[in-house]
Symmetry: C2
Subunit: 346 residues, 2 copies
């Protein structure tokens, strides 16, 4: 089973995607192809033997074959006679974190060209990448979230209680996120957040709150879970720390919260994953406050897909590849157009 | 301003899209190009002078130039020397109703290739095309919806109160929708709905409920509304009737619900449209029950974009073309990769 890792993309997490994708060489036993989306959305096929992070920062990647999309796959113009060639792989792994990858753009493009892929489908991407839409969705599937206020750029923004945490609705990896302790700090935090996005949410900031991460997937209708981890963190994980997190391959330490909370976290995960996230391995980050479980966020494409949380990630990954969701067949019969033609002909 | 209408697509509403797109010839004063997505997702450029519905049901469209996507636009291989040629237009109008067009696939593809377009962006498509996600979103923006239950294919489905209306979550134009009057009718209705989708919602069916449609858009931060119409309908609009609706070009009759309700409908529209639907002309369908306004559904690409509800659709359309939402610039600097390289070099 040959996997084509598609990575990079027009995203604030472009670099994270590079690091995460390179780390997969140590995680997956599969043969790998790498397809890089650069900042201009030009595509390149990078030989897996040659891949390293410097290739991208230096611009050297441009010496490799340019790739492009056509029905059923990626192609390149290559060889002495500049012939069009199919790039060989069985399934795509979308590891473009943040924009392009996690906002549904890339999943849509792969769907449009009928390319099988591991990643959340378009709907699941949107539900998880936009924190405001996540809130509404979580409520619909009966999963608790912290109270919040939603504002767009031109709103009159008032905050009564501090401290709060202020987040652009659409970015991951803590980009543009601030903890605001008092009124004086508010304007700067707003300026930062609106630098990245046109809409924000503001939540109460609970100091010292315990966060727990659970990754999982669904294979043949059955959930497969990782261990629950309590990630090490500072006041909150900043970009640098999360960045390093994206290249984690060593195993995490399991935490046992007792049967009731362990179950509640798993049941919340199941309700969130639902049928919507089929085809993907996701990580849900929960808060536990006064013995109650709250969703913090859904990472629809966690760094290196949170392999470090699983005992045997490689096997789970390859089982998922064999169980990707099938699209419903949509018959196009021209029944109605024919009916109109027939009526006109009378 | 030349408009490229992209239509068809792999969708239960493929034929509706054809009828709706042809109708635009009478609505828009712009020069038009037509790009057809066939049932295999092959693309064809159809000359606007030659377009008619029979072209598609007969398969004759295949005699026209095949088109394909590249950065910045659509291209074709054409002429005596089989040269690659750019298809000339200023902006795309996405008129692929239902799947592909309204589920976010096509908007994502256009975004990926940096092609300016009129249609909801990916997030707005997902929020409006999946009725379950619509419910959560409407609640988040403080717009009422009818109570509902959500079920997926393998759930144990129980209904206590009848009549109910049963809807696949992802289809428009009443496809797969049934009114269920008693327990005996339930199983058949479920079989029909699950034929089209893996998830459904069940709502109480309110007989004789009044429905009101309002279309609108936002131009330069200001809302522009159509009239409010009470559409003529049978018990509920079935596919045939909605289908004819998609080729409507004659003006609709305004209904006046009094200042309070008129305003409440408009305010609900504004909260739904929010910043999410910028770049599109949508139609929201509301119920009024006991003087309270409820969202029925958001039509993110209504048939012929609900031109019949506007006094001067052509002007509004062309103003919107000039005010499409801009994407945030995302700088890709390799700051972090460089930092790692520097640390390694030490």
């Amino acid at each position: 089973m040959k996997i084509a890792i598609v990575f990079g993309g027009v995203s604030f997490e472009h670099e994270i995607s590079i690091v995460s994708s390179i780390a997969m060489k140590d995680v997956l036993k599969n043969e790998l192809a790498y397809i890089f989306i650069d900042k201009d959305r030009d595509l390149y096929e990078i030989p897996s033997s040659k891949i390293n992070s410097k290739l991208f920062s230096s611009g050297e990647y441009k010496k490799f074959d340019k790739a492009f999309l056509k029905k059923g796959g990626f192609y390149k113009i290559s060889g002495l006679f500049k012939k069009e060639q199919n790039i060989d792989f069985d399934v795509v792994l979308n590891l473009s974190h943040g924009g392009d990858g996690e906002d549904g753009i890339l999943s849509s493009v792969l769907d449009f060209y009928n390319i099988p892929f591991i990643a959340p489908r378009t709907e699941a991407c949107v539900v998880s990448s936009n924190k405001f839409i996540t809130k509404g969705y979580a409520t619909s599937v009966q999963v608790n979230t912290l109270d919040y206020k939603y504002f767009t750029k031109n709103d009159n923004i008032k905050v009564d209680m501090f401290p709060v945490i202020l987040k652009p609705v659409k970015l991951g990896s803590s980009i543009g996120v601030s903890i605001v302790k008092n009124q004086d700090e508010l304007q700067y935090a707003l300026d930062v957040a609106f630098e990245f996005d046109d809409a924000i949410i503001i939540e109460p900031f609970v100091s010292g709150v315990k966060e727990y991460n659970l990754a999982g997937t669904k294979i043949n209708g059955e959930f497969v879970f990782s261990i629950i981890e309590e990630p090490q963190k500072a006041e909150f994980l900043d970009f640098d720390k999360k960045y390093l997190d994206f290249s984690r391959t060593s195993k995490a330490k399991e935490v046992d919260l007792g049967e009731k909370l362990n179950n509640e976290i798993k049941e919340s995960f199941k309700r969130l994953y639902n049928t919507l996230f089929e085809g993907s391995i996701i990580r849900c980050d929960f808060f536990v406050i006064d013995d109650k479980v709250y969703l913090n966020e859904i990472n629809s494409i966690p760094g290196s897909m949170a392999n470090y949380l699983f005992e045997d990630f490689n096997t789970i990954f390859n089982n998922l590849v064999k169980n990707l969701p099938a699209k419903k067949h949509i018959p196009i019969t021209y029944e109605y157009v024919n009916k109109i033609q027939a009526t006109k002909g009378k």
